[in-house]
Amino acid sequence: MGTKELLLTVFDLVAGAAPAFGQLIDTPETRVQTSPDPGLKRIGTIRPRSVGEIA
């Protein structure tokens, strides 16, 4: 005590670190929300190429 120093002791606690918590899901009303229909113009469809075409 009274050593003119500042001492910080961080303890190795048996029960000191959140053992259970949920995932962080952004739920407040103020969150940025995305419309399910963004209203983009459809310009075409890409047909995936088969392995034979790629090779």
């Binding site: 005590m1 009274g2 050593t3 003119k4 120093e5 500042l6 001492l7 910080l8 002791t9 961080v10 303890f11 190795d12 606690l13 048996v14 029960a15 000191g16 670190a17 959140a18 053992p19 259970a20 918590f21 949920g22 995932q23 962080l24 739920t27 407040p28």
Partner: protein, 269 residues
């Protein structure tokens, strides 16, 4: 965590948790079984102040025992409203106990300066005044992010205590986050390690966590936040200490330098 000031005062920042007895182990109370023995060993008869970062059991669990059995000069917290969704009866009891036993209770806000020791500048960085103005959902993450963030400066050294807030609040000036010693937010579980940490720019990081959290499998969080922190902080050139691997960790500041010591040689299971 215990902060012993140059003038010989002692302040506790958070109070750990509690655990019920099982067949394999007796019950545990961080206040009774870890903090009080430390205080007695160091010769303290009163606790000058007890500051809780937020209303979560792993930070407040040991506080009730301390407030019942020790004289605590001042009890400080982030002022979470008594009627809010995330508040608990056990937490409200703490505020009552603090004043019933001759101490004071004060909810602090960003900008408050605490008169803990003439050799220190102690400043509250968060939460800001309007944080709890609106009703909230009381979610775990909301309470984490509204943690009381404390900055303690001793000469050229700065210690930062962000509780479980692992994103910097927008209204905290970045230069206020610059620190020598960072007590890692959210026990090293924070997913956004690099940006917050880079703002803080510490020389040392101290992580309080257990070695393994089996329940984290399948979540975005690591099972071993200690290993995660050693890797993430290490990549930023920060010397990192983990209670699960190093035991109790002490940082000793003379105002110019900080000397870190650990209870035992590092063992990573």
């Amino acid at each position: 965590m215990a902060l012993e000031t140059p003038a010989g005062r002692v302040f506790l920042i958070d109070a750990g948790g509690v655990r019920a007895a099982t067949e394999a182990a007796p019950d545990y109370n961080a206040g009774r079984d870890t903090l009080a023995p430390f205080l007695r060993k160091r010769g303290y008869q009163v606790i000058d102040g007890l500051l809780l970062s937020h209303v979560h059991g792993d930070h407040m669990g040991g506080a009730e025992w301390l407030l019942q059995h020790w004289r605590v000069g001042q009890f400080l917290d982030h002022g979470y409203p008594a009627t809010a969704k995330g508040m608990s009866e056990s937490y409200l009891r703490l505020r009552e106990l603090a004043t019933n036993n001759g101490g004071t209770y004060r909810a602090v806000r960003a900008g408050d300066v605490l008169d803990w020791d003439a050799a220190l500048q102690v400043e509250v960085l968060a939460p800001s005044a309007g944080t709890f103005a609106e009703p909230d959902d009381g979610s775990h993450s909301l309470l984490n992010m509204s943690s009381l963030v404390l900055r303690v400066q001793h000469g050229e050294n700065v210690f930062l205590f962000p509780g479980d807030a692992y994103h910097a609040a927008k209204d905290i000036a970045p230069q206020k986050l610059k620190c020598t010693v960072l007590t890692a937010p959210h026990h090293g579980f924070h997913p956004d390690t690099s940006s917050f940490t880079q703002l803080c720019g510490p020389s040392y990081a101290v992580v309080t966590c257990a070695a393994d959290y089996a329940n984290n499998a399948g979540t975005p969080y690591p099972r071993s936040p200690g290993r995660f922190s050693l890797e993430k902080y290490g990549a930023l050139g920060i010397e990192t200490f983990v209670t699960a691997f190093d035991g109790d960790i002490t940082a000793r500041s003379d105002g110019r330098t900080v000397k870190m010591t650990t209870q035992r040689p590092r063992v990573i299971p």
